[in-house]
């Protein structure tokens, strides 16, 4: 079984180190059913192939605004198209990093196009037998989490 939680953590650290320039600290992956991040904005990207599922970036408003501002090099005061787009692109890049790591284990994965949803406490759901975890990250602009819900064939 490949260390998928570590792949998510490493891909996220690379994205923030190279393109966002915010220091982030990963926490221990959470695997319970009631461990959702207090989120106002969630960007999801579908995964197909040998690993099927959904990767979701859950952000409270303060973190979404701070991260987008850092990505664009400007102050961002409200959740707008730029914020939705920026968090969606983070989901895309983290999923891309996961895809590369899985490919090194001969696990072929295809990525869909990210979708962003506004609203508090968005939860993803899936069939019985689906694995799920959230990697929490602490940042100076607020905490966020990256969830993976998946089946590995």
């Amino acid at each position: 079984m490949p260390p998928i939680e570590r792949y998510i953590t490493e891909a996220t650290l690379e994205v923030f180190a190279t393109m966002i320039f915010i220091d982030i600290i990963p926490g221990e992956p959470l695997k319970g059913q009631n461990d959702g991040i207090d989120s106002n904005l969630t960007s999801m990207i579908g995964l197909a192939g040998d690993l099927q599922g959904v990767l979701a970036v859950h952000c409270p408003e303060t973190a979404a605004l701070g991260i987008t501002g850092a990505m664009l090099g400007m102050d961002v005061a409200t959740i707008d198209d730029d914020v939705r787009d920026a968090i969606g692109e983070i989901a895309n890049m983290v999923a891309g990093g996961l895809k590369v790591s899985l490919a090194e284990n001969d696990i072929a994965t295809e990525l869909a196009i990210p979708t962003t949803v506004l609203g508090k406490a968005v939860r993803t759901s899936g069939q019985a037998g689906v694995s799920r975890f959230i990697v929490p990250f602490a940042t100076p602009v607020g905490d966020f989490g990256i969830e993976l819900k998946y089946v590995l064939h």
Binding site: T18, M19, M71, N92, A95, G96, A103
Partner: protein, 123 residues
């Protein structure tokens, strides 16, 4: 002479980041045009004097591979060089892109230094 660049990505954020990275990399470029998918990119290429295209692969409507395939059949624009900028950097998809005329690829995420290293020789 400074090159005119077309950025093709469905993410407006990513287009802004690539544009900023070109500046930070110290590359000599002229006008920057933008398109949100392959079809929009073809429309820009037919109208504007573009010297180099930087294109995502995974886009709605017309993706980067379909864009390359369509562009390769159009006489007026088929020789404009295209770089792929994408999370999709597996040998299979990049091999397909290169078989359709792409001249190189840059993996997201990237740093301005990496942009300079990869794109510098073409600017």
């Amino acid at each position: 002479m400074a090159k005119n660049v077309l950025l093709v990505d469905d993410s407006s954020t990513m287009r802004k980041i690539v544009s900023r990275s070109l500046r930070q990399a110290g590359l000599d470029f002229g006008d920057i045009f933008e398109a949100g998918d392959g079809q929009e990119a073809l429309d820009v290429l037919e109208k504007e004097a573009v010297d180099i295209v930087l294109s995502d692969i995974n886009m709605p409507n017309m993706n980067g591979i379909e864009f390359l395939r369509e562009k390769s059949g159009r006489d007026g624009i088929k020789d404009i060089p295209v770089f792929m900028i994408s999370t999709e950097t597996g040998d299979d998809i990049i091999g397909e892109a290169k078989s359709l005329g792409a001249v190189g690829a840059l993996k997201k995420p990237f740093t301005p230094d990496k942009v300079n290293e990869v794109l510098g020789p073409f600017m």
